[in-house]
């Protein structure tokens, strides 16, 4: 605004600009005009809206791979609204940000055209068998397109891994007279992947516990925990370390065990 004072009967304009670069779809903006009308405290609100039509509009901008098990492959596809008046092409793709992500989560990106001409981006995740288990990871997948206005289309990828072995409980409380009880508490290990489960080792300080491993079936193992007959009296605060094998991969678990040994 250049001019700020207007005599009675005089007209003027208020111009509002906005940059559509970072918007998609319907956008509305408001403006507040402060003037001396109605005693000076008056605010007049103005509104303008626009529908930003992008060349390419994915039906959703994120892909969520749930309960991912190492060594398996998963495919998700997203419908792309194409306003280019020409078929969409995906020229390439790369992962932005995480360096390790591209190594641990190899992604295959394909353009799928349905019979009625609808275009989809299909993303296939093939996890490595011996990949490190990160419970949740996310990164941006940048796709190179044949659109001049939108040469890059970003999709947000979220991967939630399934724990290969479920351990229950995650800590033990053994207060009470368990000195001669061989099966006072138990820890259950369950294979989530369908691979056979094996116990490699169970370790403690060697003074307090006796362990007994009972296999329920190929996927479930119970570890029974008792207190040694000659365990030292008093309160203990130990950690039981379990190494279990699921398929070819070893996993380590530390289970805190607190309690007391009573005569």
């Amino acid at each position: 605004m250049e001019k700020t004072a207007f005599l009675p009967g005089e007209s003027g304009t208020i111009k509002a600009y906005f940059n559509t670069s970072h918007y998609n779809g319907s956008v509305s903006k408001t403006i507040q005009v402060y003037s001396n009308t109605n005693g000076g405290g008056n605010i007049i609100r103005l509104k303008f809206k626009a529908t930003i039509v992008t060349d390419l509009k994915p039906a959703r901008t994120s892909i969520y791979f749930r309960n991912v098990i190492p060594g398996k492959s998963y495919t998700e596809r997203i419908f792309i609204e194409n306003n280019m008046h020409k078929p969409l092409e995906i020229k390439g793709h790369h992962i932005v940000g995480r360096v390790n992500a591209s190594r641990n989560f190899p992604l295959k990106v394909q353009l799928v055209r349905s019979k009625d001409g609808k275009e989809y981006v299909s993303v296939t995740l093939k996890t490595l068998k011996n990949m490190p288990i990160l419970e949740k990871t996310s990164f941006t997948l940048s796709l190179e397109t044949n659109s001049k206005k939108m040469p890059k289309m970003n999709l947000f990828i979220i991967i939630r891994m399934q724990k290969p072995i479920l351990v229950k409980p995650i800590s033990l409380f053994m207060f009470g007279n368990h000195r001669k009880v061989k099966r006072a508490r138990h820890i259950q290990l369950t294979s989530n992947t369908g691979n056979p489960l094996e116990i490699v080792s169970i370790k403690d300080n060697g003074k307090t516990f006796v362990f007994e491993t009972v296999r329920e079936n190929e996927k479930i193992i119970d570890i029974w925990i008792g207190i040694k007959e000659n365990a030292p009296l008093g309160v203990f605060n130990e950690i039981i370390r379990i190494v279990a094998k699921e398929g070819d991969v070893e996993h380590k678990f530390s289970i805190p065990a607190r309690g007391s040994v009573i005569q």
Binding site: M1, T4, A5, F6, L7, P8, G9, E10, S11, G12, T13, I14, K15, A16, Y17, F18, N19, T20, S21, Y23, N24, K29, T30, I31, Q32, V33, Y34, S35, N36, T37, N38, G39, I44, R45, L46, K47, F48, K49, A50, T51, I52, V53, T54, D55, K149, M150
Partner: protein, 64 residues
């Protein structure tokens, strides 16, 4: 007491009605720009007229 107050209120409203002050009348307070390509700077123009009887002073225009 009540009567006096009432008279005062009536007197005040009459003063306000008599002096209109500046009035900002917009052709339209809402503008639809329709379909817009991304990556462009778009402009909305709001036209107004001072339909009051005093000088209109615009103090500021803010987004929000």
């Amino acid at each position: 007491m009540h009567k006096k107050l009432l008279v005062l209120i009536i007197a005040m409203t009459q003063v306000m009605v008599m002096a209109k002050g500046p009035i900002m009348t917009f052709d339209s307070k809402e503008i639809d720009l329709g379909k817009v390509n991304p990556g462009k700077k778009v402009q909305a123009i709001f036209k107004f007229t001072n339909t009051g009887d005093e000088k209109l002073i615009i103090k500021s225009v803010k987004p929000g």
